[in-house]
Symmetry: C2
Subunit: 310 residues, 2 copies
């Protein structure tokens, strides 16, 4: 059984795998793409080769979002796909907290006008509420950080409140409810962790934004194509939306000329929200556990629902 490792292991990591799984032959050589039953990571340019040999049975992705996989083909062929959800949560929560503190402490105003000694507005976290779209691992970790700051936290998901969410969110509403009625109680931050799926595409548009009482800051650490960027610009320009912090974009890398880079009320980071300092050290234990589950027929961690797309 061949496994192709597209995230290069350290020698000691490879050694550990060889010892733990003697029945698997591990390789980092993409020449075996057509013969691999298992792939760690992904490479779009090799997708054809992965699929043509009909050997591929399981892919462990290195990201939480898996919208760059040929999901339909995976469904057809019953190829298992597991994602790296959970590994990035803490870092995304740190990034979001960084954004919130920048806004609350007046950094944005100050950084957008360098060399200027100004007195920016500052905001009180203990009086604020955040609405978090998505109550998965990432949404829950963001909620934990927001609560440490003293904020109230409301979650939005498919099913509403649930026993494993009561300790994390002050309230949870369903996305259907949110899409229809919006949210009229004042919120200060709208934080999206939505994955990129056919259902979420352009979900965040003027119609939805206007259903939330004005004056909030929008944060996107989900996927770029969930947002209609022109609608966001329009609403920021008219101050319906107070400001925006964006890490993901419809087209990446974001073009140098994009108005988003140049806007006083918009802060851009180059898709780094979930960047992990020691990525391999975090990914390999997950891969090894899942490989053991795969070989022994146990339920796998982070199995993607290929129908739902996350």
């Amino acid at each position: 059984m061949k496994a192709l490792l597209l995230v290069k292991p350290k020698p000691e990591e490879l050694q550990r795998l060889d010892q733990q799984f003697p029945s698997v032959s591990f390789s980092t050589d993409t020449k075996i793409a057509g013969e691999a039953e298992i792939v760690l990571g992904w490479d779009k340019t090799l997708a054809q080769q992965f699929l043509k040999g009909h050997h591929l049975k399981w892919v462990q992705a290195k990201s939480a979002g898996i919208d760059y996989f040929p999901l339909e083909k995976f469904r057809e062929r019953k190829i298992l796909l597991t994602n790296a959800s959970g590994l990035h949560s803490r870092y995304i929560a740190e990034t979001v907290t960084g954004y919130i503190l920048m806004e609350n402490r007046g950094f944005r105003e100050s950084f957008k006008r360098p060399q200027t000694w100004l007195t920016p507005e500052v905001l009180e976290a203990r009086e604020q509420a955040a609405l978090i779209l998505g109550t998965g691992k990432i949404g829950r970790e963001i909620a934990r950080y927001c609560r440490f700051l003293g904020m109230q936290v409301i979650g939005v998901n498919r099913h509403g409140m649930d026993s494993h969410l009561v300790d994390v969110f002050d309230d949870v509403i369903s996305i259907k409810n949110f899409q229809t009625a919006g949210y009229q109680t004042k919120i200060n931050y709208l934080i999206s962790t939505l994955p990129g799926t056919p259902e979420t595409k352009h979900f965040l548009n003027a119609k939805v934004f206007r259903k939330i009482a004005p004056g909030y800051t929008f944060i996107n650490v989900g996927r770029g194509n969930t947002l209609v960027e022109d609608d966001l610009l329009e609403l920021v320009d008219e101050s319906w939306i107070r400001s925006a912090y964006l890490d993901v974009f419809e087209h990446e890398p974001l073009e140098t000329v994009s108005r988003l880079w140049h806007h006083d009320k918009i802060v851009i980071t180059p898709h780094i929200a979930g960047q992990i300092p020691h990525f391999r050290a975090a990914l390999y234990p997950l891969f090894a556990t899942n490989l053991d589950n795969y070989l022994t027929g146990k339920p796998m961690h982070n199995l993607v629902d290929l129908q739902a797309g996350y």
Copy 2:
């Protein structure tokens, strides 16, 4: 007994004071400067007038730092001075946390090169240590936030570890020890909350900076004159110091041409670290409590040691 309020109260705040303290006549009119026994706030341009009438007995400052008061005169005349220490702690801790997250999540690198899609280095908070100069209310609150991020926290003060600090710091060393031996165990953040006193003036110079193992980020939310700015620039240029986040300066406002504004590895905020969103609502209760203590001869909160200067 006359009290001059240099922080303008809301009508309801004034009413509350009038009711609670019928023996005191409150005014916001600086014409009574020479007759006031009590002053809330301070105005350097009125200092002569405050002192000439020999009526002044107590000043409640609106800041934590009190280096802008004529402390020698206060000592001579036995004028009581209380500061607003504690009110700003949470906000300064939020600001410092904002700086740390900016550095750890790669924001600095990204913001210093706008319109550039780059992959900055990211750092792991759980592997980091912070050395905090000052273990007063501000230092302790910063420690609490650093610990939430998963960092190890070492305090530096005059006396070393103390029973009320064991729950907040992993270790506390004396400033004498620090000044002589520095700190050789790797730290990632050197955070100064030092007040501006004759003793702390230019305390943070090349000699001290070089006694700390290289590679750390320096944060100054204390006072500007505790730092030799040219020494900092030199050490940042040679990468002994990784980067710096400065909120206070020897001369404020910081000049537009200052190299500090323009440096890739230095982030400037315009003395806003402790800015309080609802300042009066926080200050007036402290003032009322202290006024009651003053009138009834009870020990006052936040009494400044005029000899030590903080």
